[in-house]
Assembly symmetry: C2
Homo-oligomer: 213 residues x 2
């Protein structure tokens, strides 16, 4: 019942995304249709579909030469990407603070305690997942799936760069602690407070990401 039939195209898409996020496929790498097809044991058709989808997500880009390449970002582009994420997250925080439901509140709190647990046990990859869920909970709290979608998309795209900043257990604890203030600001249900809270959080987060890249 749980082995959902998944198309080859999707499988390839997921696998490539994973490879890119893990750094196996370096930025600027050329995505050759035939070699990918051979590697995953499928024909070029589903590979092309996967590549197109990844291109639409901005994970792949078309450079000067023909074909698609793993997107690579200059320091400036990275800054712009973070700025955009910044703006959207701030808007999400503000909207969420105005519409907070019991469900949303509970989800955010649950996600935060998962973060704390992961941080205290020093489980880096678990913390990354929990932190993701924490932010997703805030996005959902806006009650606006469109806002949530673009916020998630930027989070995915900046993921590889943000991940680098969590080096040891202390970083995790510090990050988790940081959430507390943000939660308080959003739960205050005051627009300005929520906005400032998220602005703080994101600026801090960006600063650390900058150091690591």
């Amino acid at each position: 019942m749980l082995d959902v039939k998944i198309s080859a195209a999707r499988r390839v898409e997921e696998a490539l995304l994973e490879s890119i996020a893990a750094g196996e496929l370096e930025p600027g790498a050329h995505m050759d249709e035939v070699s990918i097809a051979e590697r995953y044991g499928v024909s070029r058709t589903p590979v092309r579909e996967a590549l197109n989808r990844l291109a639409a997500q901005g994970v792949l880009v078309s450079g000067k030469k023909r074909g698609l390449f793993v997107a690579e970002y200059s320091r400036e582009e990275l800054g712009q990407m973070f700025e955009a994420m910044h703006e959207i997250e701030i808007a999400c925080a503000r909207i969420a603070s105005q519409r907070l439901t019991f469900l949303a509140r509970t989800e955010i709190e649950a996600a935060q305690s998962a973060c704390m647990n992961a941080a205290e046990s020093g489980d880096r990859s678990e913390y990354l997942r929990a932190n993701e869920q924490f932010h997703l909970a805030i996005y959902r709290a806006t009650g606006n799936p469109y806002m949530a979608d673009i916020a998630s998309e930027f989070r995915r795209r900046t993921g590889p760069f943000r991940a680098k900043k969590f080096l040891d257990a202390d970083d995790l604890i510090k990050s988790a602690k940081n959430h507390e203030g943000l939660i308080a600001d959003i739960f205050s249900e005051d627009s300005a407070t929520a906005t400032d809270g998220m602005r703080n959080h994101m600026t801090l987060s960006f600063l650390e990401a900058l150091k690591a890249n």
Copy 2:
């Protein structure tokens, strides 16, 4: 020099997008690969590519039945989509006001005078184009292509619903006049003023779209 070699897949994509925006393809319509292929005189392969790309843009969605369908929005979803666009445009206006370059200023002014011309001559489709350019100029003025991209994307998605509000020449003139205030607010180079200006503009725009849908 202007007849850029364009792939069949892109041609089909553009054509379909146009058809949807023009309302020829109604929301909820099933996109049949073979009939589309026949209509445009190509094989199914480029059609599939076009459909995938449109699906990635949110123009097409996959419902319960198999295949892709023209996205249809409930009143609530429409509101959420406009809210998201609203937030992003406001952020763009604020950033633009802080970073205004001579080039950006000039582009915005040029776009606006094109709007006025189209409005005065009562050319509806030309006004739609010019208005598009006006907003794109503001997006570009942020200096942040990522912000500009998501703003453009929402503008595309809401396009069909906004277009309905321009019924006669008076609507065009009113809309164009409205730009003037917005421009002044952005050119003030004051964040709060620019934010409020865009908020006003978007709220008004949404109100009229609501009436027309």
